[in-house]
């Protein structure tokens, strides 16, 4: 993608619209990947509450997956998933890609 030159950018590093964080793919910073087991999940939504990057996808009060474009792999979701449920497991990206 070609990027703007200095004469075409808004000055002062301003971003002139809201909600642009969605355009910024931070998922590639991730070294640990949350792997979600749909069958184990009880949709308590603890993970959704705690996720600092709004990367837990929910529809009709049910968890539907993880937004891997923005999840940075912090592991809070796996940590907050109730011990009796353990529907999210953190695995290394290297392991996942094998």
């Amino acid at each position: 993608m070609s990027k703007e030159g200095w004469q075409d950018l808004p000055i002062g590093g301003l971003i002139l619209e809201g909600g642009t964080a969605t355009k910024y793919i931070t998922g590639d910073w991730r070294s640990l990947r949350p792997v979600w087991d749909k069958d184990k999940c009880i949709s308590c939504l603890n993970c959704w509450i705690y996720c600092p990057d709004s990367s837990v996808l929910v529809e009709d009060e049910k968890m539907t997956g993880i937004d891997y474009d923005h999840c940075k792999g912090c592991g809070i979701c796996a940590s907050e998933c109730p011990p009796k449920v353990q529907a999210i497991k953190m695995v290394t990206e290297a392991e996942f890609r094998k």
Binding site: K3, W6, I11, G12, L14, L16, G18
Partner: protein, 391 residues
């Protein structure tokens, strides 16, 4: 109207007439009075300013940045260690292109701790992206602070206008002040293009730039500083047309036919002008006058190097007087930059440096006369000399 005012009173009066939306500050000698006087204007209801007494200069400048981001016309004042504590935020203010106006009073930096005048505080901030204007007297400080509002808002860069600590800040002078309406009319209304408070047009301020955008944004600020030169010239001239006192990048005093000249900033120029007049009259010894001249640099950032080179090109021997040392073992900041400005001349003048007045050490007629004497007698073998220090 002609009044008697100290430099600090003059700057506070300018601030009253400017009537900024926000002033955030923390007191420090010898600039304390500026905000102290201004705070009484706030208390007496003479201005509409939101006054924030911050808990440090770092916080004061941070509050100024927040205020500017909200689209408010914003001013502050500080000196020395206070400016040093603002350091981190100075760069953020310029990088975010915020037209903050700072009334600065030059004072030495610790250590040793000292409260008196030298230029090491603002010279330390010379690469921070702030426009810098050094004033000779209270009149110029008052006039420049009013112009600074326009300059900053047009250049979209922050600006500091400084006076020499105690010498100007606490010395009382006869000066002209404008009518409130004249100042109001001259500065006009501030109409920022963006504001964080404009919820219909959401913006992000201070987003991160990695390797992919940082350089482009810095390039913009570099260009803004280049453009600022023309803005300073235009507004200094407009001020002159309206009120009879014009301001440029520097003042040439009997420089036209000068054979030896001093370059100096701030209040010392006033003393040096007396020496120039004396030398023109009577020379070194009673008899033939000497063609001595003076260039008082007013605008240090942006640095008007082409204009300086042109003004100094005809003068065979020049001494640059620095009221701070770069501790680079090669002289003071004004010297190294002026020397560099002269490099492309076909015939380069002989140019030497005098470091003087550190920590408020008095500079008198005899010392300045000795500099001209060195130039007149070709005593220019040493690159840097220290004037008024005990050996």
């Amino acid at each position: 109207m002609r009044v008697a005012k100290t430099g600090n009173e003059a700057m506070a009066e300018a601030m009253r007439q400017i009537n900024p939306d926000v002033v955030a500050a923390y007191p420090i000698t010898p600039a304390t009075e500026i905000v102290q006087i201004f705070s009484s204007f706030v208390a007496d209801g003479l201005v509409n300013t939101e006054f924030i007494a911050a808990e440090s200069e770092h916080s004061a400048m941070s509050a100024c940045i927040g205020s500017c981001a909200a689209g408010a016309r914003t001013m502050t004042s500080t000196s020395s260690q206070g400016l040093a504590l603002m350091w981190e935020m100075l760069y953020i203010a310029s990088g975010l292109r915020m037209p903050i106006v700072l009334a600065e009073v030059n004072r030495a930096l610790s250590s040793p701790i000292n409260i008196h005048c030298d230029h090491s505080d603002t010279m330390g901030a010379r690469d921070s992206g702030w426009i810098q204007i050094y004033c000779e007297n209270a009149q110029e400080a008052y006039d420049s602070l009013i112009q600074a509002v326009r300059i900053a808002e047009e250049a979209l860069l922050p600006i500091m206008v400084s006076t020499d600590g105690f010498i100007i800040s606490h010395g009382m002078e006869s000066m002209e002040v404008l009518e409130d309406a004249q100042v109001k009319d001259f500065i006009g209304e501030y109409k920022p293009e963006h504001s964080l408070l404009d919820i219909d047009h959401p913006i992000t301020i201070g987003a991160i730039d990695f390797t992919d955008y940082y350089f482009e944004h810095k390039r913009q600020t570099i260009e803004a500083m280049r453009n600022a030169k023309g803005i300073v010239a235009k507004i200094g001239q407009e001020f002159g047309e309206k009120f009879g006192r014009s301001y440029g990048f520097f003042e040439e005093y009997r420089l036209e036919d000068a054979e030896i000249a001093i370059v100096v900033l701030g209040s010392t120029a006033g003393t040096a002008k007396v020496v120039v007049d004396e030398l023109r009259e009577t020379g070194l010894k009673p008899g033939k006058g000497i063609k001595a001249g003076l260039l008082r640099l007013r605008l240090f950032r942006p640095f008007p190097y082409q204009e300086l080179a042109q003004a100094l090109s005809r003068i065979p021997r020049i001494a640059v007087m620095d009221r701070s040392d770069s501790l680079n073992s090669a002289g003071g900041p004004v010297f190294t930059e002026i020397r560099s400005a002269l490099y492309d001349l076909d015939t380069r003048p002989k140019i030497v440096n005098y470091i003087y007045g550190l920590g408020g050490r008095n500079i008198d007629l005899a010392q300045i006369r000795s500099v001209y004497e060195d130039l007149a007698t070709n005593k220019t073998d040493e690159l840097v000399r220290y004037l008024g220090v005990r050996e």
